[in-house]
């Protein structure tokens, strides 16, 4: 029995531990802290953080192709299964009736996607190739599954930082948006009341809606079909009211387990050797910018509409058009009420918010089509 060899075998963990691993463990720890102490998207940041810590323990074999993370990565990320399954559950949680009751609110879901493209330009200026620049830009979709889906197709090597940015910034909404809203809108604008006079929405409409959206968006933007269709499948399960057990299953069993797997797997890609690069910091910075550009564009468009309609639209709801369902919508409504306790615009904000969700997915698909088209 060769003790020298044996000692190497036993001490391999420590001898292969690098300063980089140390740093990444700290990063993982921070993500976990944000999740536990600040409750920022805990269902995702907690697993991501833990996966990050794990991935930086040397020679555990978990990141090998036949290790736990390797298996999960091949099964759920490479195949895009995880983000799509999560979208089924998300779709079953979304209520589109506020949007259907005020179809014009859809408009606000378009402007909020500008951040995607603005960031694409910035990223190219910083020297990223188009495919990577686009993947970074899609952080501006402010929608986890969309970002992961697009990044996996265009630049899987950047998946980790993009996913982390997408989810952590989404949880920073209550911190990032309010100042921007106050900066870009006048108190008078924020006090604008929007009486809630919905068009009647029959249950039938709610059932036809997801099918119609799938077909139309699917035909126009085939690359967006997987995402939009799974979102709409979930919504159909919900609104049909005849398959409660399926609707419940996708909102609980399915989405919970998938989210956990997605989280630890994303986290496991944050290995020091790959993650600790200048690019990563650039991506995190660009992601934040994408987020700001989204909000600004949304607000400015809101102000425009407000002018056009002669002050019948409260520009705040423009900020809800960035998607980030449902936080952004809720936040917009709260700010309006802080300005005037009687100003109740939640329905409108949610309309814009859900439109933003759809807009984000469309934008993601369009971006995918354009980039694959030009490459």
């Amino acid at each position: 029995m060769n003790y020298a060899e044996l000692w190497d075998e036993l001490s391999k963990g420590i001898t292969h531990f690098t300063a980089g691993n140390m740093v990444m463990m700290a990063v993982g720890g921070i993500l976990i802290a944000l999740a536990v102490l600040k409750e920022y998207e805990p269902v995702l940041l907690l697993p991501i953080g833990f996966g990050c810590v794990l991935a930086n323990i040397p020679l555990t074999g978990m990141n090998e192709a036949d290790g736990l993370f390797g298996v999960l990565y091949d099964a759920g990320i490479k195949t895009e299964l995880f983000p799509l399954l999560i979208f089924i559950g998300v779709g079953a949680m979304i209520d589109f009736s506020p949007l259907l009751a005020m179809p014009r609110m859809a408009l606000l879901g378009a402007a909020g996607q500008f951040g995607i493209f603005g960031t694409l330009i910035l990223a190219t200026l910083l020297g990223f190739p188009i495919n990577e620049a686009a993947s970074i830009g899609v952080i501006g979709a402010i929608d986890g599954p969309t970002s992961i889906f697009v990044a996996t197709k265009l630049a899987p090597n950047l998946l980790a930082p993009i996913a982390v940015a997408a989810y952590s910034y989404m949880s920073l909404i209550p911190i990032i948006q309010p100042p921007l809203i106050r900066l870009l809108t006048t108190p008078a604008e924020r006090r604008i009341q929007m009486p809630y006079t919905p068009r009647p929405v029959s249950p039938r409409t709610l059932v036809v809606f997801p099918i119609g959206v799938t077909v139309v968006v699917g035909l126009l933007v085939p690359d967006a079909t997987p995402l939009i269709s799974m979102l709409m499948l979930g919504n159909l399960l919900r609104e049909s009211h005849v398959v409660d057990r399926l609707s419940k299953a996708v909102q609980n069993e399915l989405i919970n387990v998938t989210t956990l797997f997605l989280g630890i797997t994303i986290g496991s890609t944050m290995v020091a050797s790959k993650f600790l690069e200048v690019d990563t910091l650039l991506i995190l910075a660009l992601g934040l910018i994408a987020f700001v550009l989204d909000t600004v564009a949304g607000l400015l468009f809101g102000k425009l509409l407000s002018r056009v309609t002669g002050g019948n639209i409260n520009p705040i709801i423009g900020a809800a058009g960035i998607s980030a369902f449902p936080m952004a919508g809720r936040l917009a409504a709260q700010i309006a009420q802080e300005e005037d306790p009687d100003n109740y615009i939640l329905m409108h904000a949610m309309g814009a918010n859900t439109a933003g969700q759809l807009g984000s997915v469309m934008a993601g698909g369009i971006l995918l089509a354009l980039v694959t088209g030009v490459l």
């Binding site: 409750e39 998207e41 269902v43 079953a92 209520d95 949007l99 259907l100 009751a101 179809p103 014009r104 408009l107 378009a110 995607i116 493209f117 694409l120 330009i121 190219t124 200026l125 188009i130 620049a133 009486p195 809630y196 006079t197 919905p198 068009r199 009647p200 029959s202 249950p203 039938r204 409409t205 709610l206 036809v208 809606f209 119609g212 959206v213 968006v217 126009l220 933007v221 919900r238 009211h241 609707s247 419940k248 909102q251 449902p326 919508g329 809720r330 409504a333 009687d342 109740y344 939640l346 329905m347 439109a355 759809l358 807009g359 934008a363 369009i366 971006l367 354009l370 980039v371 030009v374």
Partner: protein, 111 residues
Amino acid sequence: MAENLSTALQITVIGMGLVFGGILLLWGLMSLMLKMTTPKDEETKGAADVPTETDESYERKRLVAAMAVALALAEEEEQQKPRLFPMPPTAIVSAWQAVMRTNQLRRRGTR
């Protein structure tokens, strides 16, 4: 690089254009679906109940109703089961839904 940039700019222009186009189409689609799937009587009935924007007291009434429901909701137990929001065309009920939604949204969605 310069070439990349021009590509990026073109993608941006075309992209945003398509996004707006898609959203406008969606708007049209929704209006169409509403037309097709809403029975006539409901349509009119819905219109009938719509309050005028100047109706201050109404707004206040709606808010009160909303709060009442909010309190009621605050008490009730089972947070688990997903709520569904039928959307009948009477304004007071929509206030009620509004509150249910707030209440739902207040809950940490994905926790």
